[in-house]
Assembly symmetry: C2
Homo-oligomer: 145 residues x 2
DNA sequence: TAACAATTATTAGTATAACAAGTAAATCTA
DNA sequence: TAGATTTACTTGTTATACTAATAATTGTTA
């Protein structure tokens, strides 16, 4: 049914994801922001879900646990988040943004809004819906379980 | 116009690109294939464009030159490609697949076809066209020059 | 209850790729 | 011819992914 090869989508997908990340990273660097895009995504996720365990945050960010642990170590060193005891399960640690972390996320909001505007020029709300639907479908199709 | 934040697309984009890559990588590993997905994309590109310089190949693959040089070193060590003198410009080197490299790409074709089928379940040819159009638009919108 | 299994976070080691800065050779240009 | 540009390479650093193993805790079941 589909004539084109894997290339014709995986290359485009990969190239575009990489360019978005690079563009964001360059904007961060140009503003002197001491975060990688991935680190920002961790902070942002925690901003939206203020109290998560390592495992929950890792899942939401699509990272494995060792990777997240190292990222948290870094963000902790930078003072943007903290680890807190879990009230009922002593294996777990709850993660929280510090005030500094929260205001960092807020400070980045306008910058991030600029990416969006720039990236979505010449595209419509309908395109956005296609985009999310198609990408989510691919994502779910490749569930490994 | 667009209500959602950067997250609502960059997260999905990044997550999906990562999952596609992981899925491909797992399939490669399960078949005992000694290539990363990025290495495969280099070989595949060179398969389609049989005679490229470092710079041309780097551009086509979206890699910078130092990264490509190291990847070529690796692929050369594995015997999949070779460097050849450029006939008219002695600064350049032409890159070519070896016979081994060519048959490797061919051997991977059915596997790669499986990814495509799996990823695109429940999606139409029309979706594919939306997909490529939208991603290419974003890609071009973020051109840094 | 005791033994075993599963879960959570961590640690360590390795590999890949991105990025930055600089070098050398060749080519182009003014 | 002198200087600028291009091409490829080298080196060093960093971020992230993956694997495997460990310790502590919790859950399960015989």
């Amino acid at each position: 049914m589909l004539k084109e090869s894997f290339n014709q989508y995986s290359f485009i997908l990969d190239k575009t994801a990489k360019r978005v990340k690079q563009f964001a990273q360059n904007s961060f660097s140009a503003q002197g922001i001491d975060l990688t895009v991935d680190q920002w995504s961790v902070l942002k996720t925690l901003y939206e879900f203020p109290l998560l365990t390592h495992k929950e945050l890792a899942d939401k960010c699509g990272k494995d646990q060792p990777t997240l642990t190292r990222m948290v170590d870094l963000l902790l060193k930078k003072g943007y988040m903290k680890r807190v005891e879990h009230p009922s399960d002593r294996r777990c640690l709850h993660l929280q943004l510090t005030d500094l972390g929260g205001s960092k996320v807020q400070a980045l909001a306008p910058l991030v809004k600029d990416f969006r505007m720039r990236a979505w020029e010449n595209l419509s709300q309908e395109d956005f819906e296609h985009f999310t639907r198609i990408l989510n479908t691919i994502y779910n199709n490749l569930e490994t379980k």
